[in-house]
């Protein structure tokens, strides 16, 4: 028994961390924030070359056949860097097809997703707070779907959509086939823009094992968001740590005031232990499926709550500059708010986790 990363995993995380180094990514993310680019295509291309989109895809379909553990390690680095790439939706569409697709469906969709030739996403929720498969009402009729989906990550650029249906079924819609129109509302997190999608008779291919895959995909979403939150929490913590050692007031560095030092210590104490949580959620997803729902729900709820709390605290530590558009802190603050809400608010997930116990 051991609970450490092996050499391959360490190397994988190290490599993606170098691709996502702050001095490379921050200007690109800034260009997106300032509306100069819709999303960060340059970084996405580098990540595809690195193999990000192939990690969990089985080898027979052009992937590397690795587990959610490896993907979550990458999600941590993406969360740290705040790269404006369509990772979340793409990863979840891929996982949904791996978990629920027939052999033939996997062979049809996975190679394009693994190679990055296609961008995938997931269209799940309809009303507000409808993240559970039991909440979905969209119904396929004669092999086509109509209606509206919300909160689709990078929905306006996705070419392949995994759509949530009544009874927890899942189906694949190829956007090129027509009948899908995005409607954009100004999103809070500009690095992961979500939109609504209107389906009007779009052709849909029902996955062979939708209901099982829907729950697995939800658990994977929670795990990846939890990894993102852990990475993001550390990044904004480090920003605040650096700032308080430079900024002066009353003739001293902010860090020399014990109130500031203690606030920073409280942040770290909340953040660092959540790594164990997301690691275990990823491990459970890959190796102990019967514990995955419990672990993923707790991990996402706790880690996102911590991220939101520390992002606010660290923004506050920057004083007025932290409240400006020009300063980068709000990029992580808004990602924290996204992580809090997407996939289900913490209170709902804690209750979901409790249902998995003998209480």
């Amino acid at each position: 028994m051991n609970f450490r990363l092996n050499e391959d995993q360490q190397q994988l995380q190290g490599t993606i961390a170098r691709i996502l180094a702050a001095d490379r990514i921050q200007p690109r993310t800034r260009a997106v924030i300032d509306g100069k680019r819709a999303w960060d295509e340059v970084t996405w291309k580098e990540l595809v070359e690195f193999g990000l989109t192939a990690i969990v895809v089985p080898e027979e379909n052009g992937g590397m056949g690795m587990s959610l553990i490896e993907l979550a390690l990458c999600a941590e680095e993406l969360g740290r860097s705040a790269a404006a790439v369509p990772f979340l939706g793409h990863a979840l569409a891929t996982i949904a097809i791996i978990e629920g697709g027939s052999e033939e469906q996997q062979a049809r969709y996975l190679p394009g997703l693994a190679s990055g030739e296609l961008i995938g996403s997931v269209a799940l929720t309809e009303g507000n707070d409808s993240w559970g498969p039991e909440d979905w009402r969209m119904k396929p009729e004669a092999g086509a779907v109509s209606g509206r989906k919300r909160n689709v990550p990078n929905g306006e650029i996705a070419q392949l959509l995994v759509v949530g249906l009544e009874g927890g079924q899942l189906g694949v819609v190829e956007v090129g086939g027509g009948g899908v129109e995005p409607e954009l509302f100004e999103p809070l997190d500009l690095t992961r823009p979500i939109c609504s999608l209107d389906f009007a008779g779009a052709k849909i291919d029902l996955l062979a094992d939708g209901p099982t895959a829907a729950l697995r995909t939800w658990d994977a979403a929670l795990t990846l968001l939890s990894a993102d939150a852990y990475g993001g929490s550390w990044r904004i913590t480090e920003m605040a740590r650096d700032y308080v050692q430079v900024r002066e007031a009353f003739g001293a560095k902010l860090a020399e005031f014990q109130a500031i030092k203690h606030q920073m210590a409280n942040v770290v104490v909340e953040v660092e232990p959540t790594r164990g949580l997301y690691w275990f959620a990823a491990y459970a997803f890959a190796r102990i499926p019967e514990k995955a729902t419990h672990a993923a729900s707790l991990a996402k709820a706790q880690t996102a709550e911590v991220y939101d709390k520390v992002a606010r605290m660290c923004t506050e530590l920057h004083g007025g500059i932290g409240f400006t558009w020009e300063f980068d802190a709000h990029i992580w603050l808004k990602r924290a708010m996204f992580d809090l809400a997407w996939g289900g608010r913490p209170q709902r997930l804690f209750v979901r986790a409790a249902a998995e116990t003998d209480w």
Binding site: A255, A301, F350, W359
Partner: protein
């Protein structure tokens, strides 16, 4: 990552189960319950299930470090209802220090009876004017002939009224030695002598657990110091490391959640058990997330340490994280207790829920944990400085030092 039990571990578990079946409960012919527990622990040590980190020559079972086996032992002993390993100051702190710093004579004299539970220990660190700022302690030992003569006062010594031995930090070098902690030595003392007066202090929980200990020309032999003279600060810091690494905190957290669940089952809210209330369920799940974070962070830390990889700063944070866990647990149980919170010993039936007295006590004890072993604010200083690299406080002695340096 691999959290599964190997076949070797499963065999180990089966062997342990057989041992437990054979050795507990023991026949009454062995003696009263205490005697039977003692005999069980002796056998368990002999079989390699207790005192695992202590060499055989000193009465331990000298087993290689294996946190998974440690977990299996704790699990099975608990499931079987057998007596658990006694962890007290002696085995938890004095013995590790002796193993690291003691002379062969000191080890042979002190460790075996401590392991057997014959030598019981209290701790003499804090003084009335040296708590969080321990380095300002003033109790002194002077070398007179071949004896140390000790004068001063210790406080908050748990168990000093019933345990004969004290591990103490005492100043042996001149006061003007800088830095201040350089003049302190690590002593093992016998409290049963005329120069020692012990006065119990009643705690807020009503128990007389703490004591003041006064030294008036008390005596200690030359070899009462462990490690070099004046090196007591470093010796005692090794203890803090042991204390923070205490893995038992995690199992304790899990068992507290289980107990809180039981209380929520038997507590009625609006005619229904409180455990059915979604708010209560979510609050308990929040606690579980924190317990899980502690467990897997510790697993990670230990797995990395085992192969010599730097594991980062988690262990430095754990005490504060556990303290916050207890605070949040308190929030939940105090709400469940409702009126029973106003009684140090709630009654029974209409006069209170059986078992709630424990929670009232726990509510007070959780405050003690915030203070003992490095108060939470001191922990925050340490984390700020060592984990984040923030500057040291420039007040008091640190500020004076800086002023002197500037002159």
């Amino acid at each position: 990552m691999d959290l599964s039990y190997s076949q070797e571990n499963e065999d180990y578990r089966a062997k342990l189960q057989a041992f437990l079946k054979e050795n507990w409960p023991l026949p009454e012919s062995i003696g009263d319950l205490e005697a039977r527990k003692e005999e069980f622990r002796r056998r368990a040590t002999e079989a390699g299930y207790m005192m695992r980190s202590i060499p055989k020559e000193y009465g331990g079972s000298e087993q290689p470090l294996d946190f998974l086996k440690g977990e299996i032992i704790r699990e099975e002993i608990k499931r079987h209802g057998a007596p658990t390993e006694v962890v007290h100051i002696g085995t938890g702190r004095v013995v590790p220090v002796l193993l690291e710093y003691g002379t062969p004579e000191q080890k042979a004299y002190w460790i075996p009876p401590t392991v057997r539970g014959e030598f019981m220990w209290c701790q003499g660190y804090s003084e009335p004017n040296a708590g969080s700022d321990l380095a300002s302690l003033k109790t002194r030992a002077e070398l007179v002939g071949d004896k140390w003569i000790i004068n001063g006062q210790k406080i908050w010594s748990s168990g000093a009224h019933k345990y004969p031995y004290m591990v103490a930090l005492i100043r042996t070098e001149p006061e003007d030695v800088a830095p201040r902690h350089k003049g302190i030595s690590y002593f093992l003392l016998d409290l049963r002598q005329p120069g020692v007066e012990i006065r119990p202090i009643k705690q807020i929980s009503g128990e007389p657990e703490f004591n003041e200990v006064f030294f008036t020309d008390a005596e200690a032999p030359l070899d009462a110091i462990v490690g070099d003279r004046g090196n007591g600060w470093n010796v005692s810091r090794m203890l803090l490391r042991y204390e923070r690494a205490a893995f038992s905190g995690i199992n304790w957290a899990d068992s507290l959640i289980q107990r809180a669940v039981r209380t929520a089952r038997s507590t009625m809210r609006n005619g229904r058990p409180a455990i059915e209330d979604p708010v209560v369920r979510a609050d308990l799940a929040r606690l579980q997330a924190r317990a899980m974070a502690m467990r897997y962070s510790a697993y990670r830390d230990m797995s990395m340490e085992a192969v010599g990889e730097p594991s980062g700063d988690y262990m430095m944070l754990q005490k504060l994280y556990l303290t916050e866990f207890l605070l949040k647990l308190d929030d939940i149980t105090r709400d469940l207790l409702s009126d029973d919170l106003m009684m140090l010993r709630p009654g029974d039936g209409a006069d209170g829920l059986k078992g709630n007295a424990k929670w009232v006590d726990a509510s007070l004890q959780s405050l003690k944990i915030r203070i003992a072993g490095g108060s939470s604010n001191i922990q925050r200083n340490i984390i700020g400085e060592r984990v984040l690299g923030l500057p040291r406080d420039q007040v008091g002695v640190n500020a004076r030092k800086n002023q002197e340096a500037a002159q």
